[in-house]
């Protein structure tokens, strides 16, 4: 059984190695092979087939839409005081005709000074989402930079950052934020974002640092260095894209944390001052509402908060599963 000798020149006349390569590729083409999908596209597909995460994305999109469009439609409704109709319940079913009670002017009811709850709710959505997003961007910019530098350069820079981070993380965060906010008197949305950004970037820094620390030793970084790439190029082109995965997940989950934090602050009265509503400060009178039986005034902001946080958490989980296919 004679064995075929590998020809060094094929029919087209290409010589030597090229001919061999061409033959191999040709042989390969004859076989079925799976379509090549890019990393991000594949991740996107995986995400979309996480039914839960996709539904959450839909709900969140709805909330965002409401937050943008709602205040435009409602205008100043949120602060219109209407002493004539305090404590109106929302539109609800009842046992006696006409079976649907409530005032369609105030579909979600009014509070003790007659302000429309629906308007306040959508405006509060704007506050929560803005704070969440902006503060997280702040965390990423400050924390990401410091963490990357610390992780990459190591040495005393790293040690110093780590000690300071340990200190800050060891402190009771809420307390510190309250103390600072209280010291400033009142806070505007902008000031609040700045304060949170300055106080909260340490977790992200730590995460970024550990990523850089481990990726710094990867082989492709060594290869890049051997090719003469500058530090800057290595950081931005090589390490950063690979470090992103856990950062993205952490950032997404962090946004929900910030939103809940702002709610806590609002509840205690240390967020945006009235009449500007935030879901937190809508709850600050909860005792009054609860004992008076005006449960809708407590229910809607609480429900809004939990739903938003839940959606963001589920989306974050979906992102984690999509980007890291080690199925759990």
């Amino acid at each position: 059984m004679a064995q075929e000798v590998v020809t060094t020149e094929n029919a087209v006349g290409q010589s030597g190695q090229v001919a061999q390569a061409a033959e191999i590729i040709q042989g390969y083409d004859e076989l079925e092979h799976a379509p090549e999908l890019g990393f991000w596209k594949l991740a996107g597909i995986r995400f979309l087939h996480h039914r839960v995460a996709t539904v959450s994305l839909g709900v969140l999109a709805f909330i965002v839409l409401a937050a943008i469009v709602g205040p435009i439609l409602e205008g100043n409704q949120y602060k219109v005081l209407d002493y004539q109709s305090p404590y109106h319940p929302p539109v609800h079913l009842q046992l006696a005709p006409p079976f649907l009670a409530g005032d369609w002017h105030h579909p979600l009811g009014t509070d003790e000074v007659g302000r429309d709850q629906l308007a306040r709710l959508v405006r509060g959505a704007r506050v929560s989402l803005t704070v969440g997003l902006m503060a997280m961007i702040g965390y990423l910019l400050i924390g990401g930079t410091f963490g990357a530098l610390a992780g990459f350069f190591g040495g005393w820079v790293d040690q110093l950052l780590m000690r300071v981070t340990d200190v800050i993380i060891a402190s009771p965060f809420l307390l510190v934020v309250i103390a600072v906010t209280a010291a400033f008197g009142g806070v505007s949305l902008f000031k609040l974002i700045i304060i949170l950004s300055i106080l909260g970037w340490f977790e992200i820094a730590r995460l970024m640092r550990s990523q850089f620390l481990s990726l710094r030793e990867s082989e492709y970084v060594m290869a890049a260095r051997a090719l003469g790439a500058s530090n800057f190029r290595i950081i931005t082109r090589h390490i950063l894209p690979n470090a992103l995965t856990p950062i993205i997940v952490s950032a997404t989950l962090g946004v929900s944390g910030i939103i809940l934090l702002e709610a806590a602050l609002g509840f205690l009265g240390y967020s945006i001052p009235p009449p500007e509503p935030s879901w937190g400060n809508m709850l600050s009178n909860f005792e009054q509402y609860m004992l008076g039986g005006y449960l809708w005034l407590v229910l809607f902001p609480a429900f809004a908060l939990v739903t938003t946080a839940l959606c963001i958490n589920l989306i974050g989980d979906g992102i984690r599963d999509a980007l890291d296919p080690r199925q759990r």
Binding site: L175, A183, S256, M290, A302
Partner: protein, 319 residues
């Protein structure tokens, strides 16, 4: 091993020192005059200035710091501006209450959360797993104060209206101080509000850790030896999976001393959280600093405990 401990303790002390400087500076540097809140705004300016001078508060902060440090080393945290009592006394009063609340919540969380996570991992993708996942997610998304509000509304007010019976509304005791059942009744709602988040965290984490371990090669070896599924899961897998969990638990311990500001507020529970919060508002700096320093010390101690526990449990780490 001992050298490691000594080194860690040393670093810990350094961190505490650093913290005291930072917070002291922060306290002195934030805008606002001490006593300006919580005091009679029409009080005599001169009296206030006298008091400030007497307490040495008009000196620059770096001069004030050494005396503070000296006092600190003596165990004296100063006196509260507001309560006019030594800070240490206040801490002594309040800390046990917080520990009671948070401690019970944490223990409950471990007892409930860890087995939930184990079962969810061993029955991956089952209905049980799905249900625990849902509950966990809701737990993550519901901050304790919302849950607290919810619990109060439903179980204290609505049930009282509907059924004439409800859980107590506030505080630690309604009757005498020694009434244990009364205390327990008062504890139910706040403990639940605090525990839910921890249960969600621990069960989720346990599940992830156990799943991770179950995919390892040595589990396959154990099965190839003919061990029953029970032995494989509970002897080989679990032993490895709890290692990171110990660290997590040890690191979340400091919260016990920190107290839960908002939850304590909602339930009017006289704990550290309440104290610290009020102090922050009226700028009662000795109290704020005292609380922060205490939390810092506890945190660092527990970090060390976590490391030691980890080294004890995982034979790969020996110093």
């Amino acid at each position: 091993m001992t050298f490691y401990i000594i080194r860690r303790v040393g670093v810990g002390l350094a961190v505490i020192l650093l913290m005291s400087v930072i917070f002291f500076a922060l306290a002195r540097l934030t805008p606002g005059v001490p006593f300006s809140a919580g005091e009679n705004p029409r009080a005599n300016q001169q009296l206030i200035l006298n008091r400030i001078h007497r307490l040495g508060l008009d000196q620059p902060w770096y001069t004030q710091y050494p005396s503070y440090l000296r006092a600190l080393l003596r165990g004296d945290l100063g006196d509260s501006y507001f309560y006019h009592q030594p800070v240490t006394t206040l801490l002594e009063q309040r800390v046990p209450n917080s520990v009671l609340l948070y401690g019970v919540a944490t223990i409950l969380a471990i007892i409930i959360g860890v087995p939930l996570g184990v079962v969810a991992a061993t029955r991956q993708y089952s209905v049980f797993d799905a249900i625990t996942s849902v509950i966990s997610y809701i737990g993550f998304s519901m901050p304790s104060f919302i849950l607290g509000i919810f619990l109060l509304t439903v179980f204290a007010v609505w049930t009282k209206i509907s059924f004439g019976f409800g859980l107590p509304l506030a505080g630690m005791h309604t009757g005498g101080e020694d009434d244990l059942p009364d205390l327990l009744l008062h504890m139910i709602m706040p403990v639940t509000a605090l525990a839910i988040l921890s249960i969600a965290q621990y069960s989720r984490f346990m599940r992830a850790s156990l799943l991770d371990v179950l995919h390892q090669d040595y589990i396959r070896t154990a099965r190839a030896k003919g061990l029953s599924a029970f032995k494989v899961n509970f002897k080989h897998a679990l032993r490895n999976a709890v290692i990171p969990l110990i660290t997590i638990i040890a690191l979340s311990a400091p919260v016990i001393v920190q107290g839960a500001i908002i939850t304590e507020g909602i339930f009017s529970w006289p704990g550290i959280g309440q104290l610290a919060f009020q102090a922050s508002v009226i700028r009662d700096y000795p109290v704020i600093l005292g609380v922060v320093m205490m939390v810092a010390v506890v945190t660092i101690v527990f970090n060390l405990v976590a490391d030691i526990a980890y080294a004890a449990v995982d034979p790969r780490i020996r110093y």
